[in-house]
């Protein structure tokens, strides 16, 4: 019963953060002058009189002649209604909402795959490294994760491209699918696949295994790059957390009970060691999102990140502000989920 109270309270805490977030985005778009709203919300295809009419309409809708703090609320109202303006970039030209609907699924896809990889690889390695401290394997792991941690994410991507894409020619490293294979397919129009906009899933839905395979292969390098960039810090944190836990009195007590060492580690130690890792997962998600931007750019993977960098290059204000807001929203909710999961797991949190 009390868990629900905690959830509700936590949800309420988000509201000031969300207000702050939207406010920052709003302020940012206004530092260079009030016309930003205009450029964000006017469809770039309009010219001449039609444009003037829309400008008039927007001015009244957004109350652009009012002081800034009033404008904020009207803008917020538009945002909440789903009207996020227009974006005009080389890969997409049109409403921001459509852009998000098209590109977000791909980003989610590689982020999810990367997250799974991070946990499946990171946790066992981190635990192993701590338990077998100073062994050859531990030293290798430490050196490896340290180096990975110091590498910029784009370098990881590039190295993977060179190793697996160029020399070994094993994996593709551009785009989301082999363009030839989708040239005559009914559910793939103009670079967009239906119904989920994720080519891999749609191909499976339509039973096109060849395309699915190609999509899968194209998925590997971007996800692995993302995963590698983040797993390095996770292993380090988990290792030091585990070492600290292993020093604790209750581990000594568990051993004094005659519990098998394997149980001591996997049951008693690991659960305690993972707690700080979960708390830090919020930062991990932030890293994932930022990393997605870089990774999608290197691999020409059409996701939100790719769209963002394109917007940056052509100075598309609408696009940049919208994507900033979007990323912020994703992160806020991801942090919320992490907090709730943590409260659920740690019995010491009293709700």
């Amino acid at each position: 019963m009390r868990l629900w109270v905690y959830i509700v309270r936590r949800l309420l805490l988000i509201i000031p953060t969300l207000i702050g977030l939207t406010f920052i985005v709003f302020i940012l778009s206004h530092i260079s002058g009030t016309n930003i709203i205009l450029s964000e919300y006017i469809s770039p295809k309009l010219t001449g009189i039609a444009r003037q009419i829309v400008i008039q309409k927007l001015t009244s809708e957004f109350h652009l002649n009012q002081p800034i703090y009033i404008q904020y609320f009207y803008w917020l109202y538009q945002i909440l209604q789903g009207n996020w303006g227009f974006t005009s970039t080389p890969i997409f030209n049109g409403q921001v909402n459509t852009a998000i609907a098209l590109f977000l699924p791909n980003t989610i896809m590689i982020s999810v795959v990367a997250s799974i990889l991070i946990w499946v690889i990171g946790v066992p390695l981190g635990v192993y490294s701590a338990v077998n401290r100073d062994s050859a394997a531990d030293h290798t792991l430490r050196i490896g994760s340290f180096t990975l941690y110091s590498m910029p994410i784009y370098l990881i991507g590039v190295v993977l491209i060179i190793l697996l894409g160029v020399y070994l020619k094993v994996l593709p490293f551009s785009g989301v699918v082999n363009p030839v294979s989708v040239s005559a397919v009914s559910w793939y129009i103009n670079g967009i696949s239906y119904p989920t906009h994720i080519i891999l899933i749609d191909a499976i839905i339509h039973g096109a295994w060849g395309i699915a395979g190609s999509a899968f292969l194209h998925l590997i390098l971007p996800s692995v790059t993302l995963a590698l960039a983040i797993v390095a810090s996770m292993i380090r944190i988990l290792r030091s957390s585990m070492l600290e836990v292993l020093d604790q009195d209750y581990i000594r007590l568990a051993r004094s009970k005659g519990t098998a060492e394997r149980t001591v580690i996997n049951l008693h130690a690991r659960k305690n060691a993972l707690l700080p890792v979960i708390t830090l997962f919020g930062y991990t998600v932030a890293g994932l999102l930022g990393g997605a931007v870089v990774v999608e750019t290197i691999f020409n993977y059409p996701g939100i990140g790719y769209w963002t960098t394109q917007a940056l290059l052509v100075s598309d204000v609408g696009g940049i502000m919208a994507s900033t807001l979007l990323f912020g929203l994703i992160l806020v909710f991801a942090n919320l989920i992490v907090d709730l999961v943590y409260a659920f797991i740690d019995p010491r949190i009293k709700y």
Partner: protein
């Protein structure tokens, strides 16, 4: 009578960045079954290290340089520790000491919790904060006595009302534990007797209530899955092989765990924990210090070990709880004939429970004698000063002991107490040996002879 535990010339040292710290410099100790042996001394004299060495729970930077810890029937517990360090280590090798520690843990896992167990000083940090306390108690029973757990539950399933009424009759006519066990065995109900007796011996219930509870122990229901698991454990000591796949094995282990919780509840009620069935599902941070210490004691006693090492069990608790714990210790010795090593810096606490007391100083035991003798006729100068330093009801000035414990990195030759000793000159270069001055009274001091 053979000693339950014999420690001979035990030397243990720690490697630190600031030098090699010699914690134990030749400890000798003999323990009989059923006696409470107190180890007294100032902080830093090595008492905790002694306890940890016996259990084999030393930290990575420790090494046993010589000596033996012989448990009756097991041989030297520290043998493997010393083997690896026999090359005379002056430098510290982390990797090697880690692998040695791992090997040791594996070797001693069977003994720990079953034949020897330990109660640590600080109940707040001794319990795992993310596991229920009932689980932590049940775990040790499942590790060492899975069969008996299975038997308990199965006995309850197989027992008929008549069986229990018969047992009740036996109890009322004053039959002892053995008779009841024989009866249970004859009816194929091994495992019922301890449950019955535990209820019978409770102080917080009236007799008619107890009768009701005992009778109600019959014909308990048992699902078929549970039955398969338990019967297998009863016969072979572990869950059936075909159940050892990820999903199933968890369910199977939970069957045992449920009974483990029941046993934990029983243990807690024996330790006079109120509402044991609720406490068992709580987490350590929800309990008070006294309760936590009782949980730790329950864990230590769960498998009826021969030896329990208590490391300052009362120092972190207030005086009333202290009294309860001491009473408990006496009660357990009387009922189970368990041996205890009671480590404390507080001589007055030791005076209450111990049969014999050993005084430790700078890593050695310098005097051993029955409790009364220690207080009435202390022979070692250190012991004398300690006994004089205890506040008593009739007042009088307390005499402190001047000086401080020596730096254990550079132990001077001869008697380590010499700098603080009011007399003594022969012991400047020669370490006095432990000599039996009168029966059962050993001292290592030239003065005493």
């Amino acid at each position: 009578m053979e000693n339950t535990l014999k420690v001979s010339d035990l030397k243990v040292q720690f490697y630190t960045r600031r030098g090699i710290y010699k914690a134990l410099n030749g400890v000798d100790l003999q323990l009989q079954q059923g006696e409470i042996f107190g180890v007294a001394g100032e902080s830093g004299c090595g008492k905790t290290t002694l306890g940890l060495t016996i259990m084999g729970l030393l930290p990575y930077n420790a090494s046993v340089t010589s000596g033996q810890v012989i448990l009756q029937g097991e041989g030297d517990l520290t043998a493997s520790l010393r083997e690896s360090f026999s090359k005379g280590q002056d430098k510290f090798n982390l990797k090697q000491s880690e692998s040695v520690t791992k090997k040791l843990n594996k070797q001693l896992a069977d003994i720990r919790g079953r034949r020897i167990s330990m109660v640590f000083q600080d109940p707040m940090t001794s319990l795992n904060p993310v596991l229920q306390v009932g689980f932590q108690v049940a775990e040790t029973v499942i590790t060492h006595q899975p069969k008996s757990l299975a038997q308990r539950k199965l006995a309850r399933t197989r027992a008929t009302r008549e069986d229990l009424e018969q047992i009740l009759k036996l109890l009322k006519t004053g039959a002892d534990e053995q008779t009841i066990s024989k009866y249970a065995e004859s009816k194929g109900l091994i495992g019922i007797e301890s449950q019955v007796l535990n209820v019978w011996r409770r102080n917080d219930l009236g007799e008619s209530k107890k009768e009701k509870i005992i009778i109600s122990l019959h014909s308990e229901k048992l699902g078929s899955f549970d039955k398969i698991v338990l019967e297998n454990v009863e016969k072979k000591g572990n869950i059936p092989v075909w159940m050892r796949i990820p999903g199933l094995s968890r369910a199977a282990k939970n069957v045992l765990l449920r009974e483990g919780y029941a046993k934990a509840t029983e243990l807690l009620s024996m330790l006079e924990v109120p509402n044991p069935d609720k406490v068992v599902r709580m987490y350590p941070h929800e309990l008070s210090g006294g309760m936590r210490q009782r949980i730790v004691i329950a864990i230590a006693l769960a498998n009826n070990p021969e030896l329990v090492i208590l490391d300052e069990p009362t120092s972190a608790l207030d005086v009333t709880v202290q009294a309860q714990i001491l009473e408990l210790t006496r009660h357990l010795k009387a009922r189970f004939n368990t041996s205890f090593i009671f480590i404390s810096h507080d001589l007055s606490v030791l005076a209450e429970v111990c049969d014999r007391i050993g005084i430790m100083y700078a890593g050695r035991i310098v005097e051993v004698a029955p409790t009364e003798v220690v207080f009435k006729k202390p022979l070692h100068p250190y012991t004398r000063m300690l006994t004089r330093a205890i506040p008593t009801i009739d007042g009088g000035e307390i005499q402190g002991i001047g000086g401080t414990v020596p730096d254990m990195r550079n132990v001077p030759p001869g008697c380590s107490f010499r700098p603080r000793c009011p007399d003594g000159d022969k012991c400047k270069d020669m370490k006095p040996e432990m000599v039996e001055i009168e029966e059962g009274h050993f001292v290592s001091c030239f003065q005493a002879r």
